[in-house]
Symmetry: C2
């Protein structure tokens, strides 16, 4: 079998230690091509650039690895990689991260890292987003190496259902403390937000987003539970946002309209 | 009963005709407060602003209506509205739009309009995103007035399940041609993308995203089908992205890891 082609991206930019670790873990498994944003893109969600052009240029910071920096969002990076840089080549796996900080639960919606992985899954590319529960720039990713590599091998060998991606979060504990992997659902947790209010040097008020992550989901089958209990969480995720439960109960809206006409 | 408090936002900015129509439709049903982005935010998805502050200021362009322009994304607008501008007041309904252009199917992921509505639903506010299948700035929204008002009244009176929002798309046809409302699932449709390549005045290459919307979903219970058949589509949507189907089949990943330890 030919060496698999692995696309690596992230939302923290090419200089972040997280993507360097991920590249190192991936390069023994296949041919790696990197397309990363040229500026930090945390919290950019599934944003795309439509009102202005996108540019990219090669960078030589990962020894022997073909790599590019792109002006767009993480989702733009995947689109440019697939349709321009790797045009006509089959991508066997897309990995995004390793993010500096959790993307468990509702964070998948806000995360550039996971949105890049989801965009790849929309393109039919099996994909995984990796995050470590440590926000510091100098975070150490080595303790997760064997788990990350095994997940990559699993997905390369078995694929994923079309449109499915894996949201993988790694607890911030030692290798010895990790208890294994849990395949779980997204916890029903949320951010309770506040804005820090302050005055700028010109006397104008400004507001800065801050908040506290609250988990009110008592299930033991969730990603937040797994991480709290020193497991690596794997949430198979997808892009169908239909609320099928509500769909059943809302058909009365259609009747309402018949009277209206 | 007190007049319900209705928060109105969008992703096209306060000057767009779509939000003006939505405000006009809403103001007969309750007290309206508008918090809209101060620049076009199409395609911004669920992006939030975390690396810089957010500002807002009152605007007086909607007669007798309390309104603000905000420097952030549509999701930021909802957060600022809820936590700063309307602090401690109960919001009975959030409506976002009316978007100039379709947000059916996978577009819900990229859409600032729908992400604003989803953010409101995460805050426990019943919410609806409205879009008209006409991208032109001078689009006419009047033919949908009675449907939009009835959907708003339904949600104010009945609420929605916690975390549920309605993704409403309106076909670009006359009032007489609209056949009613269909409550449906998100079609499994996608964008087939290309980048327009060109050279800027300094001789540098740039790329501009373009693409074609492809529906390979043959179901007659989808939003794309409903719109093609002149129905208004209503997709109850939510933020749990867990792929429960894949979850069942992926538990073998956990076993793999036990061998690893």
């Amino acid at each position: 079998m030919e060496r698999p082609l692995i696309l690596v991206t992230n939302d923290d930019g090419a200089a972040a230690p997280g993507i360097r670790s991920l590249i190192n873990f991936a390069k023994t498994l296949g041919e790696v091509v990197v397309v990363a944003p040229d500026s930090p893109q945390s919290g950019k969600g599934h944003a795309i650039t439509i009102d202005e052009p996108i540019r990219f240029h090669p960078i030589d910071i990962f020894e022997g690895i073909e790599a590019y920096e792109c002006t767009g969002t993480p989702v733009d990076c995947v689109k440019i990689a697939k349709h321009v840089i790797l045009k006509d080549r089959q991508i066997d796996l897309c990995v995004s991260g390793i993010n500096h900080g959790s993307n468990a639960a509702i964070n998948i919606l806000y995360s550039g890292t996971l949105s890049a992985a989801m965009e790849a899954s929309l393109e039919g590319i099996p994909s995984i987003g990796f995050s470590l529960l440590d926000y510091s720039f100098s975070a150490n990713f080595d303790h997760a190496k064997s788990y990350i590599q095994h997940l990559m091998i699993y997905v390369i060998e078995n694929g994923l259902e079309h449109g499915c991606l894996l949201n993988v979060n790694i607890p911030n504990v030692t290798a010895e403390e990790i208890r294994g992997i849990r395949v779980c659902r997204q916890a029903n947790a949320r951010w309770v937000e506040e804005f820090q209010e302050a005055i700028d040097p010109r006397g104008q008020k400004y507001y800065w987003l801050t908040g506290k992550f609250i988990n009110e989901d008592e299930g033991t089958d969730t990603d937040v539970w797994a991480l709290d209990n020193y497991y690596i969480s794997v949430v198979p995720s997808m892009h169908d946002l239909t609320d099928y439960q509500s769909l059943k109960s809302l058909h009365s809206i259609e009747k309402m309209t018949i009277e209206l006409k």
